[in-house]
């Protein structure tokens, strides 16, 4: 188990790390800031964040609640726009992208998994997946995607008939069915107990390994960091540290 602030390496120039890893960066974010208003309060969610995500990498973004990690993930996923700074995904400048370019990007390139699953309650597991495969370019079948997360037998159940872990696995199936280049997961196990959470993490690890999908998981649960290639620490709207795991722990060995 790692400590929360294991390696305070945030001063390193990004280019150095790029060379170090030898991988190709999918995401390159520079100087991201985000200020938004909640009621009458101004919240500085991001205060100048530089970050990359590499092809095939499994990254965990670790931080306490309110550290800005969800905001960062939303910006990477094209769900939100930064107040300042730039994000590039491959050749696309997400910060300058139009509404329709962002839609295209979300439709084909990114898969999302949310803490509260955000399944559509009126659709079955299969239909919740097909709502995405119907508009994707080269998707798996909903059945394949659900098999991938071991939910084949529960395919025709409605969200209300599934447990939390099962719902989250549907959400993962939905996210991977389009064969995205990157999978962004916001506290995927946040609402789950350890045992169910492990099943969800196994599904994520399997997708990452089998399809080479770059995966970023944000969590406040430090145990999960052990299954990542790389761990970024976030606090108070900044990257406060980075750690590389020499070996990735299989999810089955993780518990909390």
């Amino acid at each position: 188990m790692s400590t929360e602030h294991g390696n305070p390496g945030q001063e390193d120039a990004p280019e150095d790390r790029d060379e170090e890893s030898g991988g190709q960066a999918i995401f390159v974010a520079r100087g991201l800031t985000k200020v938004y208003r909640v009621g009458e309060v101004e919240v500085h969610a991001l205060r100048g964040v530089d970050v990359e995500l590499y092809k095939g990498e499994f990254m965990v973004l670790l931080g306490a609640s309110g550290s800005g990690k969800s905001t960062l993930l939303n910006i990477l996923g094209g769900l939100d726009t930064p107040t300042d700074g730039t994000v590039r995904f491959d050749d696309i400048d997400l910060t300058g992208a139009s509404e329709s370019e962002l839609t295209e990007y979300r439709r084909h390139a990114v898969g999302f998994v949310f803490q509260f699953y955000n399944l559509i309650p009126s659709l079955t597991a299969r239909e919740n997946v097909s709502i995405v495969t119907e508009i994707a370019r080269n998707p798996m079948t909903p059945e394949e995607a659900l098999e991938m997360v071991n939910l084949g037998p529960r395919m025709d159940h409605f969200p209300a008939q599934l447990s939390g872990g099962e719902q989250q696995r549907v959400a993962i199936a939905r996210a991977i069915a389009k064969r995205p280049e990157v999978l962004l997961c916001d506290e995927p196990t946040g609402a789950l107990d350890s045992k169910t959470g492990v099943h969800v993490l196994e599904a994520l690890a399997r997708v990452n390994e089998e399809y080479g999908t770059a995966t970023a998981v944000i969590t406040h649960n430090a145990s999960i960091a052990d299954m990542a290639d790389r761990v970024l620490f976030m606090s108070d709207g900044r990257i406060s540290g980075e750690r590389r795991n020499e070996t990735r722990k299989p999810p089955s060995e993780i518990s909390w």
Binding site: G39, N74, R107, L123, E127, I135
Partner: protein, 788 residues
């Protein structure tokens, strides 16, 4: 089926009760619109087709007596197309087995051809044979009321002689769609007969052989009626002409037109209010419905659905609800309108019904509601897509709450915590609360306006017959009679009191406005038939000058007390007199000018004469009095107050009240839909908050109080405003349907307020019960787990 389509149908099914409530509002709005407009269109079309098919005349003239040869000279007047000379005779009729006096109007038919104008629509039997003088055709309304058929015989008293009249046919005529006996204000089909008889027979019996006393004409296209009338009046003057007039002053046409105008007023006000209100509600409801879908919009967008696709998805949901409502509304509206037109057609006895539902009416009804639904949807959708998906998926940021006014004024101790929450929640979204209150207020007002007509009609009847026309019987003489006629009537056994009066047909002129009516002369000490001023206090006719019905003075002529109006007398020497207006009297039914009897007689310069008398009679002696009256040849018509009231309620009121009932029903439907939707949306918006309170240890009753308390508070405030709104709608309505025939007073009984309040509060309570049940089964964990 695509997943998005499945989502749509399943969610529609899930929200079916709410969707049904919305559809109901739409249906009611569209139905009212269609009912009013298509009834109006159908009635107008039926009337004009009837007039055309049976060649209804355009100019009418009565005279004392002129040789038939004069008719040729009438035809020569420039602008006259066709002219028909006729004999008309007002007679008393006895129907075997029927005790009450019956008055009949005999109209001659050409012996050897069909009439050029005012042709008959033969319902049963045949026309009179030219060689059998005492055959008559009677009008259908009278035939039905008295159960008379071809083959039956009635007795006519013509020139003092009793003659058996053989009924050979039953017919309708465009000239007598509305049949009102002189002296009556409402039709009484049982006691007033229109009869047609061959010219030869009638002219001989009525001493009109080779002559005529009535003329009807049509005009060349483009001819000016005024010019024709001027020349016609000059031509007829030596023959006792009573002044020619156009359709506008023809009694039957005037009444039916007025009826249509009233309907038109209803057709303009009611559906516009209904439709506008339905539109407002739909906008409001769809807006809040879509707002509640904010997170799902966010999810769909997060997965790469574009705004257009997501937008169309929600638009299609609303579209389905609105169209379903519109289809039901059109179906019900067309059905009810057909039924209602049927009632009118029967009431007016048109020979056939020409039902029409114009495509533009249909389209407008649908488009307005559809537009409102779409506007509400798009407005809400726009604010949802404007947010980034990340924001849309986050729960609404807490809105800024403030201490409520009550708290600030009275301090915290005054209210418990849940009550404070209610007040703060209302204050937090004042616009939303205001819209709910407005919706409730409009609902209350609409329900009240449905009931109002009944109140107004009751009051109109009550004040007319209890304050002013208190006589039991009105007798109209055939000819001018001296004062002795009054004494003679007063002396009849059973007659308690007789009050002579004189009515003189006149045309009032002021500036370029004119109106054909009558001046009635009463004694200053009259007790039976009185005049009442605008505050409903009895006033005697002034010794000098003229009293006018306030509607005649203010609305039609535009005069003020002290002004001088020109009076063209349309009978006798036909003098033209300038008279000062002494004041106005309040009358809800009919329109007239009034003077002191002696003053009127002095102006007319034909001695102390009367044209009729009001009688008070002992009810026990009624039959005897009628017997005596009918025996007198000088008595032309006998009208009974009780019969007037009864026939009004039987016929006239029925049509209004059916309309009213339909409107009330639809208004109540809208009211329920509005309140129920507000309640359901409030529940959806706040179940998370309320579940949290349950977790904190609040009881079911306490959380129900927070939600239902707010709902009922808004409903009660809304009902309060609704009373004002209702009064406003009724005032608008009363103003619009007021006419020279009757004016609808703005009278709202406490029961109308109570009914409006009851319907809306009842809707509130039913909705509360539904909410309570839902709150009781609130799944605390599930609600708290979801982000919304």
């Amino acid at each position: 089926m695509r997943a998005l389509d499945r989502k749509r149908w399943r969610e529609l099914w899930q929200m079916r009760s709410q969707a049904a409530a919305i559809a109901m509002i739409i249906a009611s709005g569209v139905a009212t619109y269609i009912i009013s407009l298509s009834t109006l269109d159908s009635l107008t079309l039926t009337q004009s087709n009837y007039y055309q098919a049976y060649r209804f005349a355009e100019v009418f003239a009565g005279l004392k007596r002129a040789p038939l040869s004069l008719a040729e000279r009438v035809r020569d007047i420039e602008g006259v197309r066709e002219a028909e000379a006729r004999v008309k005779a007002q007679i008393n009729v006895e129907v075997p087995g029927f005790g009450d006096p019956v008055t009949g109007l005999l109209v001659s038919l050409p012996d050897d051809r069909v009439p050029l104008l005012n042709q008959l629509h033969q319902v049963r039997g045949r026309t009179p044979a030219s060689d059998r003088p005492w055959e008559v055709v009677i009008n259908e309304a009278f035939a039905d009321a008295q159960d008379l058929a071809p083959g039956d015989t009635i007795i006519g008293i013509i020139n003092g002689r009793r003659e058996d009249l053989a009924i050979v046919g039953v017919a309708l005529s465009p000239e007598f769609i509305y049949q009102i006996r002189p002296g009556d204000i409402f039709p009484d089909y049982e006691r007033y007969a229109i009869m047609w008889m061959g010219y030869r027979g009638l002219s001989v019996a009525y001493d009109m052989d080779g002559a005529f006393n009535d003329l009807v004409l049509t005009l060349e296209p483009g001819a000016r009626a005024e010019a024709v009338i001027e020349r016609l009046d000059a031509l007829l003057e030596p023959y006792g002409g009573q002044g020619a007039y156009t359709r506008e002053d023809q009694l039957s046409h005037r009444y039916i037109t007025q009826e249509i105008v009233s309907l038109e007023a209803m057709a303009k006000i009611f559906p516009v209010i209904f439709l506008a209100f339905a539109a407002f509600l739909i906008n409001f409801v769809t807006n809040r419905l879509i707002r509640a879908e904010r997170d799902q919009i966010g999810v769909l967008k997060a997965f790469g659905y574009d705004n257009l696709t997501v937008g169309l998805h929600y638009v299609s949901v609303i579209l389905i609800i609105v169209l379903a409502g519109a289809v039901v509304g059109i179906g019900f509206g067309a059905w009810a309108a057909r039924g209602l037109t049927g009632i009118y057609i029967e009431f007016f006895r048109f020979p056939r019904l020409d039902y029409v539902l114009r495509a533009d009416v249909l389209l407008t009804g649908v488009l307005v509601t559809l537009g409102a639904g779409l506007a509400g949807t798009l407005h809400a959708f726009h604010s949802a897509v404007r947010l980034s998906p990340a924001e849309a998926m986050r729960p609404d940021t807490p809105l800024v709450y403030r201490q409520s006014l009550v708290e600030r004024l009275f301090g915290h101790a005054f209210l418990d915590q849940p009550s404070r929450m209610i007040l703060r929640h209302i204050g937090r979204a004042p616009l939303k609360s205001a819209l709910t209150v407005l919706g409730v207020a409009l609902s209350t007002g609409l329900v009240m306006s449905g009931n109002f007509q009944e109140d107004a009609v009751d009051y109109m009847m009550w004040s007319h017959f209890n304050l002013a026309a208190r006589e039991d019987v009105t007798v109209t003489f055939n000819e001018l009679a001296g004062n002795e006629a009054e004494y003679e009537l007063a002396a009849l056994p059973g007659v308690l009191q007789a009050e002579g009066m004189r009515a003189v047909p006149v045309r009032f002129r002021y500036g370029n406005r004119s109106y054909r009516s009558a001046i009635q002369g009463f004694r200053p000490d009259a007790e039976l038939h009185r005049l009442v001023d605008t505050s409903l206090q009895p006033v005697p006719p002034p010794p000098e000058g003229l009293l006018l019905t306030s509607y005649l003075g203010e609305e039609i002529l535009g005069v003020r007390p002290g002004d001088t109006v020109t009076v063209e007398v349309l009978t006798g020497r036909r003098p033209v007199i300038d008279l000062p207006v002494a004041g106005f009297v309040e009358e809800y039914i009919g329109i007239s000018g009034y003077m002191e009897l002696a003053t009127l007689n002095r102006l007319m310069r034909d001695g102390h004469v009367l044209t009729g008398s009001f009688l008070a009679i002992d009810p026990a002696d009624q039959a005897r009095v009628f017997d005596e009256l009918m025996r007198r040849p000088g008595v032309g018509a006998i009208a009974q107050r009780s019969q007037s009231i009864a026939s009004f309620y039987e016929s006239f009121a029925e049509t209004i009240l059916v309309f009213t009932f339909v409107n009330t029903l639809l208004a109540a439907t809208i009211a329920f839909g509005a309140v129920y939707n507000s309640a359901r949306i409030a529940l959806a918006e706040r179940s998370r908050e309320l579940a949290s309170l349950r977790v904190l240890g609040f009881t079911r009753a306490e959380i129900a109080y927070i939600l239902i308390g707010e709902l009922m508070l808004l409903v009660i405030v809304g009902v309060g405003f609704g009373f004002l709104v209702g009064r406003g709608i009724c005032a608008l309505f009363a103003e619009a349907i007021s006419s020279d025939i009757y004016r609808v007073p703005l009278v709202l009984e406490p029961s109308t307020y109570a009914f409006g309040a009851a319907v809306v509060l009842g809707s509130g309570l039913i909705s509360s019960a539904v909410i309570k049940r839902r709150l009781d089964t609130l799944d605390l964990v599930a609600v708290l787990k979801t982000t919304e």
